[in-house]
């Protein structure tokens, strides 16, 4: 636990996200700190003076806040036991436990930092090349490499419980991104009365308007500041009843059918939208120069967020590196926040027209046509080196300045991954050095900076057009004229904007040092890429796979532009020809718990469930059902059935009701047995096979009337048999009504020498052998309940399977137990049933058969009637019959006192050649017994074979007949 006395006070701050009246205490590495409501973990730590937020993946280089937008890997921490949390977007909460990761003993002094100096010995493809021979070398090295590399550690003890959820939403229009374009589109769509979901990843709406606070000229709201425009638009959106706004929600994938995956906290929200408008904007990307990952080097927008959102001073002396007016606005912001701006290094040539007052901040020297070549300092920025791109320059190069903050505000990258996923056409435009969206699939639109166009007026128009076109697709557009004129206007503006000159700042600035980081996540250096290209990995796709550039947690957000730039230069290819690496969902790291959601396995209970529980039954899950394993004593349950009478709940059996003139031909087609000749009032055991002759299921078929059959299936195959029956019915286009009545009917099996005595007390039905013989069925009353009775040889004793409406379950159960009292009746569970049935050598589908078992192997050849007319499986079975059999299911009894377990191997000459599928102790035989698959050559009647029981070889003998009552006299009695 953390010590409270070390609480560090933080000064009162002014930020549009935080509420300084609400303090939040949290601990970081065992010390208590204080932040405010609205802070993120990172903003509170930064305010408390922390500058190193992580150590890098491979070289353990110190890393500080870089993007403050959850795009990079530089602020990953362990929060409340959960590793790899992006602390810059993790809202702070009371009592939160934050810890650093991937460094020892601390971020400031990390022993593994020495790896940074060994960089020469860790070239790209290091593992592939150096630790190959001898093989042992990798075995020794691997644990060390694994420990030093990598990020946080998973806490296996952490309990997550049910906190993960999935939610499903439907809407007319989903708009992703609540910045200027997204808000504009939403406002337009509201006017058409569309149902809208607006997805915004930040805690509030407004996007860049909230931190790039220069004035904007918004035609409909003249004279307002960016903040005010955002407030106005957000207010309209939030107050509309047709919009549901999701904040702190990130879209992680857009799939076919406009299926949008959104992560919101621990929830995965799946949105099915008729139309999708993508307004995800753009984000700034870093430059590659010497020491470019030094803490204190930050993206311009990150700095602005620290200032405007959280009221934190980002540094004392700053230098802004830029290539557009945005950087000059940033300089103003810095100055207003009390930061001394030492200089602006502007990549553009000095403008002919004097912009002073607009671009040039009079107090700040602007170095035109320059860029940064190096960040100076060891653990934090202490200075900057500026170079000019011109040969003859008015500045002395390189120019060294002292500072503690370097703001990179050069290139932006459209956040267009979602568009990529939809298959939109995106082309690299040389003129603007931006990927431009050319075409989107039906029902998907893009507007705003995500399209590669950075012009507010154009972006607003795009958003309006996208909204109106969506409404048009939905058939709710009333203002057709307006759409046409907007489209015209947009086209005009696009033409003028294309003619404006642009300056593209190269993603890399030449330098000399070793440590020029391209990929923050995987510590891929510029020289690594150059070397890989020299080795022949010239295509961006294989360059990526070989060097792992773009393959880290940021998914290339920060590095793919630089990688493409370097690849183009090194291979002498035009950037537009390089292509990009594929962007796949999820767009940002998502924990597996969110994807999995909470587990809602349905559990089915039989109508008599409570009776079993009251009787103290041990319940087990069988498929989706809960069934009694036993009521305490398996052996006395067994004994009751064999000597007196027992009752078992078999409501879990699948039950299909078939009606129609063509029901008999359909069943004849579905079963390998003959069914058509079954008489009314008779029941038959049947086997269902696939077309290739594999056993699918077994069960009983009872003919209740000429055109009415009642079929049972095994518990686990109910659904698949229902669809199988229905498919054959549909494909032959016959007239049969197939109804799954499994849940509507309960069932018990009453069996034992006194079964008839018990049942005759409850039912007026004549149960005598002459009238109700073996394999007969009768419908009538049992304890006054309408029921269908089938006399089948379930456990090898006289017995009836009684099916009745579920509602009567408990009543009928009680009646039977009561009537059986004088005969010593006992309920029995699935374990006793298993032994009883195994003694009769009954095969359990799925236990004694698998996905390849055919009837000839499983001793069911007698059921197959190849000579009857066409049936399902005939083709396959005919073929199998002609082939030599490889395996055979046999019954066996142990020769010694051992009892094998299900799955024990059958051994021949020291090799496993078969397996036991079912084995138990048989009270009747007095030994271990069961069923096993043997190779055909071993399956000779009455011969011995070996089973490895508990790893020791034991002898078993093959028994051909049923172990109990082979003549079947008892069940017919």
């Amino acid at each position: 636990m953390a010590k409270r006395k070390n609480l560090t006070q933080s000064p009162v701050r002014q930020g549009n996200r935080i509420d300084c009246s609400r303090e939040i205490k949290f601990s970081y590495n065992g010390r208590w700190y204080q932040g405010y409501k609205g802070d993120t973990v990172a903003s509170a730590l930064f305010a408390a003076g922390k500058r190193i937020f992580s150590r890098s993946f491979k070289y353990h280089r110190p890393r500080g806040l870089t993007c403050v937008s959850g795009q990079c890997p530089n602020c990953l921490m362990t929060v409340d036991g959960v590793p790899n949390v992006r602390s810059c977007i993790q809202p702070l909460s009371q009592g939160m436990q934050v810890e650093h990761q991937n460094a020892w003993p601390s971020l400031e002094h990390d022993i593994f930092g020495m790896i940074d100096r060994l960089g020469k010995f860790l070239p790209v493809g290091f593992y592939y090349k150096s630790l190959i021979r001898p093989k042992l070398l990798w075995k020794i090295a691997e644990p060390f490499i694994r420990r030093m590399a990598g990020l946080g550690k998973v806490n296996l003890k952490l309990e997550h419980g049910d906190e993960y959820n999935h939610r499903f939403l439907h809407t007319d229009i989903a708009i992703v991104g609540g910045g200027l374009a997204g808000l504009t589109a939403t406002v337009e769509a509201i006017k058409a009365d569309a149902d809208i979901i607006l997805v915004e990843e930040q805690p509030c709406l407004g996007g860049t308007l909230r931190h790039r606070v220069q004035d904007i000229d918004f035609p409909e709201l003249p004279g307002l500041s960016a903040q005010e425009v955002a407030d106005k638009l957000a207010e309209t959106v939030v107050s509309s009843s047709s919009v549901s706004v999701m904040t702190n929600a990130s879209a992680i994938g857009l799939y076919e059918g406009n299926y949008l995956g959104v992560r919101q906290g621990n929830e995965l929200v799946k949105i099915r939208a008729k139309q999708v408008i993508i307004t995800t904007g753009s984000y700034q990307i870093p430059l590659v120069f010497d020491n470019n990952d030094l803490p204190g080097v930050m993206l311009g927008d990150a700095v602005r967020k620290l200032i405007h959102y959280y009221g934190v001073s980002p540094g004392n002396k700053a230098v802004v590196v830029t290539s557009d007016d945005n950087g000059h606005g940033l300089a103003k912001d810095l100055a207003e926040a009390g930061v001394e701006v030492i200089a602006i290094a502007d990549n553009r040539p000095k403008p002919d027209i004097d912009h002073s007052g607009v671009l040039e901040n009079p107090r700040v020297p602007v170095f035109w046509d320059t860029s940064i070549s190096r960040a100076l300092g060891k653990k934090h920025v202490r200075g900057i080196e500026i170079v000019t791109s011109k040969e003859a320059s008015e500045y002395q190069a390189p120019l060294k300045l002292k500072c503690d903050l370097i703001c990179i505000s050069t290139n932006s990258q459209p956040a267009n991954s979602l568009l990529h996923q939809t298959g939109a056409t995106i082309e690299y435009d040389k003129h603007t050095a931006q990927p431009l969206v050319k075409n989107t699939p039906a029902g998907v639109f893009a507007a705003g900076e995500v399209t590669g166009i950075h012009d507010k007026n154009l972006n607003v128009l795009q958003a309006k057009v996208a909204a109106l076109k969506s409404c048009q697709n939905l058939g709710i557009l009333r203002r057709k004229k307006q759409l046409e004129s907007l489209i015209d206007e947009l086209e005009q503006l696009e033409i003028t904007s294309r003619s404006l000159p642009r300056v593209h700042c190269s993603q890399t600035v030449p330098g000399i040092s070793d440590k020029r980081i391209v990929c923050y996540c995987e510590d891929v250096l510029e020289k690594d890429l150059n070397q890989a290209i020299e080795e022949g990995f010239r295509d961006i796709q294989i360059l990526k796979r070989y060097s792992t550039v773009t393959m880290g947690p940021c998914q290339g957000k920060m590095c793919s532009a630089a990688a493409i730039d370097i690849c183009a230069r090194a291979t002498g290819t035009d950037i537009s020809q390089i292509g990009t690496t594929t962007s796949r969902p999820p767009l940002e790291p998502v924990s597996l718990g969110v994807l999995a959601g909470s587990v809602h396995t349905p559990l089915k209970r039989t109508p008599m469930h409570n009776r079993h529980v009251n009787l103290g039954a041990k319940m087990v899950q069988v498929g989706e059902w809960l069934r009694p394993h036993s009521y305490g004593n398996v052996w006395s349950e067994y004994q009751a059935v064999r000597e007196r009478v027992g009752v078992i709940d078999v409501s879990t059996l699948g039950k299909l009701d078939l009606k129609g003139d063509e029901a008999a031909p359909l069943l004849d087609r579905l079963y390998v047995n003959r069914i058509g000749n079954l008489k009314v009032g008779r029941t038959r055991y049947g086997v269902v096979c696939s077309e290739t002759g594999v056993i699918l299921d077994d069960g009983t078929i009872s003919r209740l009337a000429e055109d009415h059959f009642f079929v049972t299936t095994t518990t686990g195959n109910t659904e698949s048999m229902e669809s199988w029956f229905k498919w054959w019915s549909a494909s032959t286009n016959d007239c049969v009504h197939i109804t799954n009545i499994t849940a509507g009917m309960g069932a018990v099996n009453l069996a034992g020498p006194f079964a008839r005595d018990v049942l005759s007390k409850l039912s007026p039905i004549d149960l005598s052998n002459e009238v109700f013989g073996y394999m007969g069925n009768v419908s009538g009353l049992v304890a006054g309940v309408p029921a269908t009775l089938m006399r089948i040889g379930f456990v090898g004793e006289t017995g009836w399977e009684i099916h009745f409406p579920s509602e009567y379950g408990e009543y009928l159960w009680d009646s039977i137990i009561q009537a059986g009292q004088e005969f010593g009746i006992r309920p029995f569970g699935v374990e006793a049933q298993r032994i009883l049935r195994l003694e009769k050598k009954h095969v359990i589908i799925g236990q004694d058969t698998d996905a390849l078992t055919n009837p000839y192997e499983a001793n069911m050849a007698w059921a197959v009637k190849l000579e009857k007319e066409d049936f399902v499986g005939r083709g396959g079975l005919r073929k199998i019959k002609g082939l030599p059999r490889s395996n055979k299911l046999v019954g066996f009894v142990m020769k010694d006192g051992t009892v094998p377990r299900d799955g024990d191997p059958v051994i021949d000459k020291g090799v496993a050649v078969g397996r036991v599928t079912s084995a138990r102790y048989s009270p009747h035989v007095g030994r271990g017994f069961g069923l096993a698959y043997l190779p055909d050559y071993l399956a000779v009647q009455q011969s011995d074979f070996i089973i490895a029981v508990n790893g020791l070889e034991s002898l078993a003998v093959i028994v051909d007949q049923a172990f109990y009552d082979p003549e079947g006299l008892r069940l017919r009695g």
Binding site: S723, N733, G875, G876
Partner: protein, 86 residues
């Protein structure tokens, strides 16, 4: 696999509401060659393009129907009950 299919009985539903039942095939006759049966069992065309397929609405009405789907785009052009030959 997140596209929509319209069940002729229930309407538009996500594809995971359904079970795919394979292409609509012609079943060989009783006396046809074993080779014909073999190809019916095991050989599938896997057509890139329009295909007639069986779909089962397992999470809904539990009925089989036929969908004509383009396997290259997952566009379902039409669905109908078997026997309603469109």
């Amino acid at each position: 696999m997140t596209y929509l299919i319209s069940c002729p009985g229930c309407g538009d539903r996500g594809v995971d509401d359904y079970r795919y039942g394979g292409s609509v095939l012609k079943r060989p006759g009783y006396n046809d060659d074993p080779e014909l049966w073999d190809s019916y069992f095991y050989l599938r065309v896997n057509r890139a393009g329009m295909e007639k397929e069986w779909w089962y609405h397992r999470m809904g009405c539990k009925q089989w129907f036929i969908a004509e789907r383009d396997s290259t785009t997952n566009q379902v052009h039409v669905t109908y009950w078997p026997g309603e030959n469109k």
